[in-house]
Amino acid sequence: MTLRGIIGVLRWLVGVAAAAAVVMLFTLRGGTSQSDTPDAHLIADGAEVYAQHCQICHGSDGLGGTGPALSGSVAERFPDPSEQKAVILVGRSAMPEFGTRLDDHQIEAVIEFTRYGF
């Protein structure tokens, strides 16, 4: 096949894929988990992680101690959860990094807990 032929086929395939993506965008439902809808299971897991790893500094009610209060304020400070995740993963001044100590699920869970669980 010539280069032009290959490009023609490829463009056709990619066009179909793009059309499929558009159709999926309109038709696929996301199920229940919504970014702004707290997930109860995740919060429960997060409470455990929090008690084990964060409470000493941020307080049992999230009202602060060595570290700042998190209760009620994190969702405002970090409208974007991935920025909150960044702080937890890599740390910041006296806040230790947890990226090496917690797995992805534990981190997602503790974020959910600090945002919606106190």
Binding site: I7, V14, A17, L25, G30, G31, L89, D104
Partner: protein, 183 residues
């Protein structure tokens, strides 16, 4: 993108119009669609985020290859007139592959996250992401040669490149440098 209602050259006008409406409808849909917060598939990567980061970065590298080839062949970037049809073909081949790589990425951006503006970075990302697709639609439909307005195609190409770099920087590079490089 420039207004083109006065254009006499139909294909160029149509291409720009399609591009503009692509960008606007993508943005509108991303704003009104209820974000699902979910991933459909991470095609082997450890998470949606890492999949998006690496696919985007690969696509950016392909666009860089296009740029380097264009500089080597013509000494310029974004020229409307490639010197050979072969060069034109290779450009299209690479562009098509890069476009394909971005499809799963943008699908998850729009379906899962939506148009968000909590910070300047994320707002820029959403807007630039829409502009990428608008410019892409326009370049794909636009004739290579427009005798009267040689600047149109290069301009759309430059918008595409600029928007793509912005999208990559505010999505992938930010994540790489402030969170992690994991795959």
């Amino acid at each position: 993108m420039a207004e083109t209602s006065t254009t006499t050259d139909k294909p160029v006008g149509t291409a720009l119009l399609v591009g503009l409406s692509t960008a606007v409808s993508l943005g509108l849909y991303a704003s009104i669609h209820q974000p699902t917060g979910r991933a459909l598939s991470t095609i082997g990567f450890t998470s949606t985020i890492t999949m998006k980061n690496w696919l985007t970065t690969t696509a950016l590298l392909l666009l860089l290859v296009q740029g380097v080839m264009s500089i080597r062949a013509q000494g310029t970037l974004f020229t409307a007139h490639p010197q050979s049809t072969r060069q034109n073909d290779v450009h299209q081949l690479i562009g098509t592959v890069a476009f394909a790589l971005t499809l799963p990425v943008v699908f998850h951006c729009v379906w899962s996250l939506g148009y968000q503006t909590p910070t300047l970075r994320v707002g820029l990302h959403s807007a630039a992401g829409c502009a990428v697709y608008g410019a892409w639609a326009a370049t794909a439909l636009m004739p290579w040669h427009d005798q009267e307005r040689r600047w149109i195609r290069p301009t759309v190409g430059a918008v595409l490149a600029g928007a793509f770099v912005t999208t990559w920087w505010s999505g992938a590079l930010w994540y790489f440098t402030s969170v992690s490089w994991s795959i």
